[in-house]
Amino acid sequence: MKHLLNLIDGDKDIGRGNKFWAGFFLVLICFFLYPTFVSSFRASNTAFYLLNIPMGFGLCLIWGYCGILSFGHVAYYGLAGYAYGIIAGNLLGNSWGPILGVLGGLVVCTIISGIFGYFVFYSRIQKWIIPILTLVFTLLLETFFVQTSGYQWRVGRVLLGGFNGMTNIPFFQIGTFEFEGYSFYYYCLVIVLVLFFGLRILVNSKFGQIVIGIREDELRTEMLGYDIRFLQCVTFIISANLAGISGLLYVQWGNYITPSQMGILQAALPVIWCAVGGRNSFIAVIFATIVLNWLSFTLSSQGNQYALVIIGTLLVITMVFFPRGIVVMIFEKMQKIR
């Protein structure tokens, strides 16, 4: 137990020591109390900001900690969503359906990312090719799902639905209890918390040290006797599954999924969250994901067409003036002052 606490408080992420954790738990209590002050609709909207965080974590792990940039994590988001929709939709009425759907979604993510990772990492291709291949992969998936309209694209009882996407995806349920509204908000919050602590343990453990070693110097890490191809592949699979978790939560939240969730504009979003927040810090990614999702949601729900321009400009400004992320650099400044 002591060992685990030490790992959580490790030095591979910003935010250590009693003061930080006191603040962290204070904010956490606010998050837990939040639904008591707002309507079920607002809580559900906020849950949408939370459910994107695991995908941000996934990109943070693979880009910030392993040094491999993936532009195609939305592919796994979409795949997991579609897999859940197909499995849970076919087992409609069965209380085990959603749980099997979740497992199925994660298995699909693992298999596809494993195959992709094998080709990419075992051929030791240059670093810049990976983002391009992942991007092309997700664009292809989008094209594939767009053309799946009509009755011939049916899996069991579920229609894939082409451009309009898959609808009537069931809520997540355990036994007879369905997660929606307030309970969905708490469900997302707990998942994000568990993943946050799990990932802090992961990056501060021996595995995390080696992964960071790969980021710093691939050749040297390999000379120390580690199979970097395998480790990169494993890290890629983990982060693809994190994106898959986001996709699962998304379909359980909105009960639908469209191919545009795997489109080029969606693919940009997790990269932006990580870049603006700070790619080597999970806490910064949480912060940036919530703020940026809130920003784009507010802008676009007012019918403001400048949302993409503003977010793109923000990305360019961050990359030019705050290359390590706004949240991380502010945090470091504060520590220096103290």
Partner: protein
């Protein structure tokens, strides 16, 4: 049915597809090969080229001149981006990738806000030419000719002009080039704007064959980047020509047999297999072969 016209039709399609890939990837591969910058705003540069061509064409400028104009305008825009933003990211491949992505978002949505969702299209110049049972678009035949012209022109620029030699020196060893009095910063700016301009030129040349819309750049992303990945960045001309020919051979046959979507899937699979065999792309393997040959004859 006669076999002759069928073969000629296949060859025509092969070269037309190769011309499309070549025009879509040329600007990208120059910027990547010379400067090691992956320009994700490439599709948007092509879109701007198409817009410039469309606007000037409908203002009454002849198509040939509007294509040249689009090269110049996009080259200037690219040069400005290089001076303001890109030059901070040399040596940081992933950073450059992300920042050019940001630029592409702003350009795409900005164009939508400025010009609206639709543009009048350009009529395909030239008629069609009939041979046997198949007919051929004259415009695509011209495009194939333009590609050959561009290859010769690039070969001449990078083999005989002062700028070309300095650019090659900068590519091989920037520090040494600097010591010998080459202003590498200037070379990078010129190279980037030439690459951007070629993207604009490609967009303008392909604009009669497609719908002009603010996000039209996205449809170039997959083919252009696959061409670059397969071609590699060791030698710009070998890479661009070799990979667009190979990919078009794959795409033409698979696409004819199974449909356009599977043609694109086959492109991705080809890319995965090629980089599994030749991690640095076709151009690196080809260059090594030529180097070996020239060594053995000496």
């Amino acid at each position: 049915m006669d076999i002759g016209p069928l073969i000629i039709s296949l060859i025509y399609q092969l070269f037309a597809n190769a011309a499309f890939l070549f025009l879509a990837a040329l600007g990208l591969i120059i910027i990547l090969g010379m400067m090691n910058i992956i320009n994700l705003a490439h599709g948007e540069f092509m879109m701007m080229g198409a817009y410039v061509a469309t606007i000037t064409y409908h203002a009454g400028v002849p198509f040939v001149i509007s294509v040249i104009l689009s090269f110049i305008v996009v080259a200037i825009i690219g040069g400005i981006f290089e001076l303001l933003i890109i030059r901070r990211f040399y040596g940081e491949e992933l950073g450059a990738l992300v920042v050019t992505w940001g630029i592409s978002l702003v350009l795409g949505q900005g164009t939508l806000l400025l010009f609206g969702p639709f543009m009048p299209s350009i009529k395909i110049p030239g008629g069609s030419y009939k041979f046997g049972v198949f007919s051929y678009s004259e415009y695509w035949l011209i495009l194939i000719g333009v590609c050959i012209l561009l290859i010769v022109l690039l070969w001449w620029v990078y083999s005989f002009t002062n700028y070309g030699l300095q650019a090659k020196a900068t590519m091989q060893n920037p520090d040494m080039a600097k010591c010998l009095g080459v202003s590498t910063k200037k070379i990078y700016t010129i190279t980037f704007s030439i690459g951007a301009g070629l993207a604009g030129l490609g967009g303008a040349l392909l604009s009669p064959t497609m719908t002009i819309a603010p996000f039209m750049g996205q449809q170039f992303v997959a083919p252009a980047f696959i061409t670059v990945v397969v071609g590699g960045a060791t030698n710009v001309i070998y890479g661009a020509v070799g990979s667009s020919l190979i990919l078009s051979a794959v795409k033409t046959n698979i696409g004819m047999a199974f449909g356009a979507f599977f043609g694109t899937v086959a492109l991705l699979l080809t890319a995965l297999i090629v980089i599994r065999i030749m991690p640095n792309g076709i151009s690196a393997t080809f260059q090594r072969y030529i180097d070996k040959k020239s060594l053995s004859t000496k």
